[in-house]
Structure formats: structure tokens, C-alpha cells
């Protein structure tokens, strides 16, 4: 399946030149810490929306979750609705405006710093920074694998070289150009992705004879669901899985709720609210943010599910069989076989853009977490040093860890690594972040307790209860001699459903049982 045409080479070259040009603009415009960390707090609404969406949607969403729709059907469209309503509308209007205002009031430049300053706690800032530093490389490693696999297949570059090449290219513009470079390149990559997915959407429906005809054909395929999948709850590609079955729990708890809610507490996304100068910019950004997510996730899942109809018409098999049983290969297989050559080339660029835009924001967030939050605020007790240099070294360090993980992680890990990180962020950060910006009574003790409970409850559930993760880690087996401590339905339930509510309850109870934070500090935080 190697597409080694000169046209592809030239397209990638032009794309890279433009990316480096934008990186250079970022470098030229970066004059102080606010510029490097927050793009000078004056980003325009389209750049914000495209950059937020492009950082959010990676190869994992398009290939991983698109393939999931190919295997399990359109139920995953609920995640798209969640992403638009919660991940864009509520995030920008309700969370974004308060985050922006409090960030400006407290002069915070990173997500952990916003929380740390709200609760006047270096521990919270340092612990959050450390948590990001330790676990985000897992997510970044997953995205790196996706991008490198694309370069391996499309450009014929050896996989290990591709990982290194991709990391070095992204690192170069993130380290030199800071968040200005990250957001400008994200916006370019977002625009490419929008166009690529738009064309894919139209071509797919056109190929299958129109919207209703395509859906009807997919609905009629329900009896073709393989017996082993039907046994665990798969009922067809245009119907929800049977309630309470393993397929239903994975879809609803891990995918729809885990990723749908987890997005609210993503440090690399929340920090973007602090890059704009006023609430109006956030409201304007909703205009392009909503359609962007629809175009990415919505199109990937609809097309993924409909690929079954195409493979049935042309080869007489369902998508999962056409992809040799590997969910991650459904989307590439469909695009290679169903789409015209020129589009395949363009789509490969789209995927490269999706991987690079997510990677750049992850690298930037990890670097600032290490350099600013952990080193400067926690270890050096806020002593002024050359923060940007330390951050740049932090970025380089976490990139090396991510690259090492990309070499080491087992195949098929991309979507799971993403979901683990999203769930952990929701449990650890969401209660203290939500409480911090909406509830004046929430205090340092409540926030600290919820951070610790959310983090460790999540990690405990992953290590000892969640079937997939616990059995592959093997820690539970080594200590207790069983793969998981609980059995049955519990092993399908995502940690987010247990750890996040627990952390919320702890946050409320501990806050109410301890003294409120000083009134003048709370007033400063909430000042309009």
C-alpha cells in the first residue's frame, strides 16, 4: 500500500515549509513569558477554535475511533454530540469565560498554575505539573505512533526513523516558537483537516448512493454481525448495543462519557481559554469550533460505520474482516480502496496535520508543566529564573520519553492510551477546576483532597479492577494472584465513572468541613 508518488513528496514538502514559516513567525513574535506560554493573550477567534479543535482531534480520533465505528456502528455518534455540546459550547462559554478571567486576575500562564494560584497552593501546582509530566507522554506516545505509522505506510520511511523524524520536526517549532507557533500551525493543520474530512464525507455518501440509501443498506446488514460480537451485545451498525452488555459499557462509560467529559479537564485545551483577550472572542470561536468537531469526529464515525456497506458491495465482507480483524486498519483500508488517488494523498496530509497539531500542544503543555509548574513554582518556590530555557529543556526531556514510549508500547495501544489519559485528567482535575471557577466556598483543603483522591482512585481502578488495563499491567496478578479484584460488569466500567464522582464528593465534604479561604483572595480570583 505504499503511495510513493512525487506528488505526495512535493505536497509534504510544501506543507512542511509552511509549518516552519509559521514556527518562525512564532519565534519572531515571542518576546516574553506571556508570549511563550500564552501567545500574548490576544489570539483571534478562528485561530482559537481551529487550534483547540486540531489539538483535541488527533489521528487517534480519526483512525482509532473511526475504526471503532466501523466495527461497532453509529452509537459512537453520541460522543460527537457530547463533544460539540460539552466539549465546545459549554467548555467555551461556561468554563472558558471564567477560566480566562481568573487566569488574567491571577496572572496564571499554565493550567496547573491557574489552579495552584486559585487555592494558593504550590503543592497543587507542583503535583498537577508532575501528573501531566508523568502521564501525558503516554498520550503523546500514542499520537506519535499514529503519525509515524502513517509516514511508514505513505512515505515508505522505516518506522523507527519516522518516530524520530516526526518528534524532531514538531519539537523544532514548539521549542523555538512557543505557543504562538503551536497555535498558528494548529490553525493551518485544522484548516487542512476540515477540508480533507469534508471531501471524505461528500465522496462517501455519493459513492453509496445518497444518505438514506447508504443508511438503509447499513441497517439491512444487521444479521451479518459476527456471532462472537453479537454474543457480547453488538446488535448492528445502526442500533445501540444491548443495554448492560460489555459492548454497551465500553461504548457508554469509556468512550462516550470518558472522552466526552474528560475533554473539559484537559490541561492542553483549557490553557487555550487564557490566550484570548475577552469573552467575546470565546463566543465568536464557538461559531467555527462546533462545525469543526462535527467535520472531524462526526464524519470519521459516520464514514467508519458506512465503510461496511462499501466493503459488502465490493468484496462481500464486513469492514472488520476487510481490515484483517484490526480495528485500527479499517479507516486506512477504506480510504485506500474507495477514494480516488489524489484524495488519498491529500488525506494523508490531513492525518499528518492531525498528529502534528496534537503533538505540538502536548509537548508545549508537558514542557511548561516541567519547567514552570514543577521546577520553578514547586522546587524553586517561585524563584525567578530563566523559565523559558528550563521549559525548553523540559519539552526536550518529555519528547525523549514520548519517543521511547512510542518504541516500547505494544501495537493497538493508541485509543486506550488516549482514553486512560482523558479519564485520569477528569478524575484528578475536573472537581478542583470546576469548584475553583464556579464555587467560592471551595478551598485549598477540598481541592488538595479531591486531587489526591481522584488521582489515586483512578490509578487504583486501572491497576486492580479495569479488565483490559489491569490484566495487561499484571500488577494485580503479581500481588493478589488474580487479574482483577472485582469481577463481572465492574471490569468493563471505566475508572472515570467511579473516581470522578468520588473526587467531587470528597471536594465538597472536605471544603465544607474546613475553613474557607480568605475572602480578599477569593474576591481577587473572581473579580470581573
Amino acid at each position: 500500500m505504499t503511495l510513493n508518488t512525487p506528488l505526495l513528496g512535493i505536497s509534504v514538502l510544501i506543507y512542511m515549509i509552511v509549518v516552519f514559516y509559521l514556527g518562525w513567525i512564532g519565534y519572531k513574535q515571542t518576546k516574553n513569558t506571556d508570549d511563550y506560554m500564552l501567545a500574548g493573550r490576544k489570539v483571534n477567534p478562528f485561530v482559537l477554535a481551529l487550534s483547540y479543535g486540531a489539538a483535541f482531534i488527533s489521528t487517534s480520533a480519526i483512525i482509532g475511533f473511526g475504526g471503532y465505528a466501523g466495527a461497532f456502528g453509529m452509537g459512537v455518534l453520541w460522543l460527537v454530540a457530547m463533544n460539540i455540546i460539552l466539549g465546545i459550547f459549554i467548555a467555551f462559554i461556561v468554563f472558558g469565560s471564567r477560566t480566562r478571567r481568573m487566569g488574567a486576575n491571577l496572572k496564571a500562564v499554565t493550567f496547573p498554575e491557574l489552579i495552584g494560584k486559585r487555592y494558593r497552593s504550590r503543592f497543587i501546582q507542583g503535583f498537577s505539573g508532575a501528573l501531566i509530566t508523568i502521564f501525558m507522554p503516554l498520550y503523546a506516545g500514542g499520537v506519535l505512533i499514529g503519525g509515524a505509522r502513517f509516514m511508514e505506510v505513505a512515505l515508505g520511511i522505516e518506522y523507527n526513523t519516522a518516530v524520530m523524524l516526526l518528534a524532531v520536526i514538531v519539537a523544532a517549532y514548539v521549542i523555538t516558537g512557543g505557543l504562538i507557533a503551536v497555535m498558528y500551525t494548529d490553525a493551518l493543520q485544522g484548516a487542512l483537516m476540515f477540508l480533507g474530512m469534508g471531501i471524505l464525507f461528500v465522496l462517501t455518501y455519493a459513492k453509496l448512493g445518497g444518505v438514506v440509501k447508504a443508511h438503509q443498506a447499513l441497517t439491512d446488514m444487521a444479521p451479518l454481525v459476527p456471532a462472537n460480537l453479537a454474543a457480547i451485545g453488538h446488535t448492528g451498525w445502526t442500533s445501540m448495543p444491548a443495554f448492560g452488555t460489555p459492548v454497551w459499557w465500553t461504548l457508554v462509560s469509556t468512550i462516550i462519557l470518558g472522552v466526552g467529559i474528560g475533554v473539559l479537564a484537559q490541561p492542553q485545551l483549557a490553557v487555550r481559554f487564557m490566550t484570548v483577550k475577552d469573552t467575546r472572542t470565546l463566543k465568536r470561536a464557538v461559531l467555527s469550533g462546533g462545525p469543526f468537531i462535527f467535520m472531524m469526529a462526526g464524519v470519521a464515525y459516520i464514514v467508519g460505520a458506512l465503510s461496511n456497506v462499501y466493503f459488502m458491495d465490493t468484496r462481500g465482507v464486513i469492514a472488520l474482516d476487510a481490515a484483517g480483524g484490526n480495528i485500527d486498519k479499517i479507516m486506512p483500508e477504506y480510504i485506500y480502496s474507495a477514494m480516488p488517488d489524489y484524495f488519498v494523498i491529500f488525506f494523508l496530509l490531513t492525518l499528518l496535520a492531525a498528529a502534528m497539531s496534537t503533538l505540538s500542544s502536548q509537548f508545549h503543555t508537558m514542557g511548561t508543566a516541567i519547567g514552570h509548574d514543577f521546577y520553578r513554582e514547586f522546587l524553586m518556590k517561585g524563584k525567578l529564573g530563566n523559565t523559558i530555557t528550563i521549559t525548553r529543556m523540559g519539552i526536550a526531556t518529555t519528547i525523549i520519553i514520548s519517543v521511547a514510549l512510542a518504541y516500547k508500547l505494544p501495537p493497538g495501544i493508541i485509543a486506550r492510551a488516549t482514553a486512560i489519559f482523558f479519564g485520569l485528567c477528569a478524575a484528578a482535575f475536573l472537581p478542583m477546576y470546576t469548584g475553583g471557577i464556579f464555587w467560592k466556598r471551595m478551598n485549598r483543603q477540598g481541592a488538595t483532597a479531591s486531587l489526591l483522591v481522584g488521582t489515586f482512585a483512578s490509578l487504583f481502578w486501572l491497576t486492580f479492577v479495569n479488565g483490559k488495563v489491569a490484566s495487561s499491567l499484571g500488577i494485580s496478578k503479581a500481588i493478589f494472584g488474580v487479574d482483577t479484584l472485582l469481577t463481572g460488569t465492574w471490569t468493563f466500567v471505566d475508572p472515570i465513572l467511579v473516581a470522578t464522582p468520588l473526587a467531587f464528593i470528597v471536594a465538597i465534604i472536605v471544603s465544607l468541613m474546613t475553613r474557607p479561604d480568605p475572602e480578599e483572595h477569593v474576591e481577587l480570583c473572581f473579580k470581573k
Binding site: V80, H215, A285, K528
Partner: protein, 41 residues
């Protein structure tokens, strides 16, 4: 509806379109909003 029998799916399908269009309308309506100042929280 739209060739899909399960309402749990066609509702989600339509909701994706409706929410994306809703975002566009919201953005247009509030395009020229003036920032409110001094409104104590």
C-alpha cells in the same frame, strides 16, 4: 428515519447536525457582543 430504525441512533445523528448549526447561530448572534464591566459575580 433517514434509513436508521433505532431512535437512539438517529437522534444522535440529528443532534450532531443540530448542535453544530446551533454553534454557528450562537456565534453569529454574539459576534458583536460588548463586554459587560463591573457586574459583580
Amino acid at each position: 428515519m433517514l434509513g436508521i430504525n433505532d431512535p437512539q441512533i438517529w437522534i444522535a445523528y440529528l443532534l450532531c447536525f443540530v448542535s453544530a448549526i446551533g454553534c454557528i447561530i450562537y456565534g453569529l448572534i454574539h459576534w458583536n457582543d460588548v463586554e459587560e464591566i463591573g457586574d459583580a459575580n
